[in-house]
């Protein structure tokens, strides 16, 4: 079934512009100099700017009905990138194109419409619901404010969405603390769906749930995708889950995209040494007796990332050039991009 949907996608790719395009997006977090630091700088002290490149020059696209997995170790910037896609955070540099339009350069009315089309599901389902809102209000508030459906159809609309997400509509006047974790996540999904999005960003959306509930929620995501033609950006550190549901996978390391490709391709022939190491860490039934290699060393501090290729201190194949130049993201096979100097060796 996966291969089937992928061939459909490949043909769709050629015909229409991507639903969402992330174009050279960079997000820096900087500690603004306080009064004392400014004074010191004025008096000639060396300026010590602490800048974190949470996302460094990332580009990728999400097509209609496509599930893109975004994986990486914790602290690699995948959540920040997810938040930028969802419009909660703004990029320092770069553009976000929605159906070909730059989100930053449209009227406020357009921007609001785009914002609604991209919704987000969060990691902590309890924290993502206002504790003082009855869930009916939580789900209907935005739909009502933006008049997603006429007021007369609102009740029916909300009930339908709740039912589809597996929430009993008769529990609408309960508070979030009266639900279980899985139910709360379903409410969060219903809230996002109530405004009829086209792309849903799931930021570790199943990480805090039991394994059995995880499976239920993932199945729900897939059902909803068929129902509403949704695209997903699935941010996760769980490679098993990502492999199961994604059409395409993007791998990030220390703020940079190091490899992206179709799921089948990337898992069969991982090109980047980091991806290879990452996939080597996925527990599997087939190689239960084989030895288990972890990636050498710690993930470096994003405040002081290594020069050149960020991965070189931990890479088994590191060469001299890896310390000096940042490897560009190059196509290694059709639709499969990787950023590694090894590919230039000839």
């Amino acid at each position: 079934m996966i291969s089937n949907s992928q061939t459909q996608l490949a043909t769709a790719d050629d015909q229409q512009a991507p639903l969402l395009e992330i174009d050279h997006v960079t997000r820096r977090f900087e500690r603004k100099p306080d009064f004392a630091a400014k004074l010191a700088a004025r008096l000639g002290a060396p300026i010590n700017r602490r800048t974190v490149h949470a996302v460094d020059d990332a580009s990728f696209a999400i097509h209609r009905r496509e599930v893109v997995g975004l994986v990486g170790e914790s602290g690699c910037g995948k959540s920040t990138l997810g938040r930028i896609v969802a419009g909660i955070d703004n990029p320092t540099e770069g553009r976000i194109l929605y159906n070909g339009d730059d989100v930053a350069h449209v009227s406020s009315e357009e921007a609001r419409r785009f914002q609604l089309k991209i919704q987000m599901i969060f990691q902590d389902p309890l924290d993502s619901l206002n504790p003082r809102y009855r869930i009916g209000k939580a789900v209907s508030e935005a739909a009502r404010y933006h008049k997603v459906v006429p007021e007369a159809e609102m009740t029916a609309h909300i009930e339908k969405v709740l039912l589809q997400c597996g929430v009993d509509p008769t529990t609408q006047n309960r508070f979030p603390h009266q639900f279980s974790g899985g139910q709360r996540q379903r409410i969060g999904i219903a809230r996002a769906l109530a405004v009829r999005p086209e792309l849903v960003v799931c930021d570790e959306a199943v990480a805090s749930l039991d394994v059995s509930i995880q499976a239920q929620i993932i199945n729900l995501f897939m059902d909803l995708r068929d129902e509403y033609d949704l695209a997903y950006l699935f941010v996760s550190h769980d490679i098993g889950v990502v492999r199961h549901i994604s059409d395409r996978v993007v791998v990030m390391y220390l703020g940079r995209i190091v490899e992206q490709g179709t799921t089948a391709d990337l898992f069969a022939k991982p090109n980047h040494p980091y991806t290879q190491a990452l996939l080597g860490q996925v527990p599997s039934l087939k190689r239960r007796h084989s030895s288990f290699h972890t990636i050498k060393g710690e993930i470096p501090s994003p405040l002081k990332p290594p020069s050149g290729c960020h991965f070189h201190p931990r890479c088994p194949h590191a060469m001299d050039i890896c310390k000096q130049a940042r490897p560009p993201l190059k196509e290694v096979a059709s639709g499969h991009m990787s950023a590694c100097h090894l590919n230039d060796k000839g």
């Binding site: 419009g87 609001r112 914002q115 206002n130 309960r174």
Partner: protein, 321 residues
């Protein structure tokens, strides 16, 4: 669920386990009580909280219905008899009325004067605390939500405000504005809004970092709705605590100012003014003129503080259950 109940009837599942499963499957039994309502309930179940609440409610009712309770209208000069001045508690007037708490130097029934004074004091306290609460909350919310320069500006204003002793600020303001209920309320608001602003900002900063605020922003709700509908209601618990404490403070500050003779005019005696009136007769043995209004003021402030104290314990998440 149905399988479970049949199995339970057949006795294949031990009853303790069955109860556990049933509990896990059902919703928490607790009714959908709002946190504020639950907090009020818990204040009333505590002895000190209950005493405080009773005192406050009693004094509030007395002040509210002063017209009906008071045997005499202390503002109506026609009913006052100067011959009755400085009578000791329990003495009778010429007209046969008993002054249970004695009379002051104008021949006013002290009990009636205290009821009316209480009304003025409580009104000034609640009005000033209420206005300060609204102004302070808006400033605190704006400060926390927008951050940056606005935040710096508001918080430095708060710092400046709090670095002056409130009584000094109130004295200066009243010296400029003159006397009157409205003026003392203005003075009290100016001295108090900063406390609310600081409290709300702190709570709002915590709430702003929570994901439901991100979700609201993702749903393209306007800032006004995010702050007023989402953030502010979740900042209420600390705000309520500060508000109760501040009402008590406003009452005592007003009493202080009136005692000093720059607060309320003599025509609208508050508790502070009554105490001040009796002050000059203290040494000649007429203690009741100052002491009874003082006791009323003490009761009011202690009552409010007891409620506020208990509320703080109840609403503090660290002490929850």
């Amino acid at each position: 669920m149905t399988d479970l109940t049949t199995e339970m009837k057949q006795g294949t599942i031990p009853p303790e386990l069955a109860a556990e499963i049933a509990a896990a499957n059902s919703f928490p039994p607790e009714p959908p009580a709002r946190p504020v309502r639950r907090a009020i309930k818990r204040v009333l179940t505590d002895p000190l909280g209950l005493v405080g609440t009773l005192i406050v409610v009693l004094l509030l009712l007395a002040a509210l219905f002063a017209h009906w309770i008071a045997p005499q209208n202390p503002y109506d000069l026609a009913v006052l008899d100067i011959m009755d001045n400085r009578l000791s508690p329990g003495s009778e007037s010429f007209s046969g009325m008993t002054y249970w708490l004695g009379t002051d130097d104008q021949g006013r029934d002290l009990f009636s004067a205290i009821l009316y004074g209480l009304r003025t004091s409580i009104f000034v306290g609640i009005a000033s605390a209420g206005i300060a609460l609204v102004i302070g909350s808006v400033m605190g919310l704006v400060s926390a939500y927008f951050g940056g320069r606005i935040d710096t500006l508001v918080m430095r204003l708060v710092d400046i405000q709090l670095s002056f002793p409130p009584i000094l600020v109130a004295l200066i303001l009243l010296a400029i504005l003159g006397q009157g209920v409205d003026k003392i309320i203005v003075a009290l608001v100016v001295t108090q809004w900063a406390y609310y602003a600081r409290t709300v900002r702190g709570a709002a900063l915590v709430e702003r970092g929570r994901t439901y605020v991100d979700a609201a922003r993702c749903l393209a709700l306007p800032s006004r709705m995010v702050t007023l509908n989402h953030i502010l209601p979740n900042c209420l618990p600390p705000l309520i605590v500060v508000a109760t404490m501040r009402v008590a403070y406003a009452v005592s500050l007003e009493a202080t100012l009136s005692f000093l003779g720059i607060g309320l005019p003599v025509t609208e005696p508050s508790l502070g003014l009554l105490i001040s009136n009796g002050n000059k007769y203290m040494l000649s043995g007429d203690w009741w003129i100052s002491v009874f209004p003082g006791v009323a003021l003490l009761l009011l402030i202690v009552g409010i503080n007891l409620v506020g104290d208990r509320l703080r314990d109840v609403l503090n998440p660290k002490f929850k259950d």
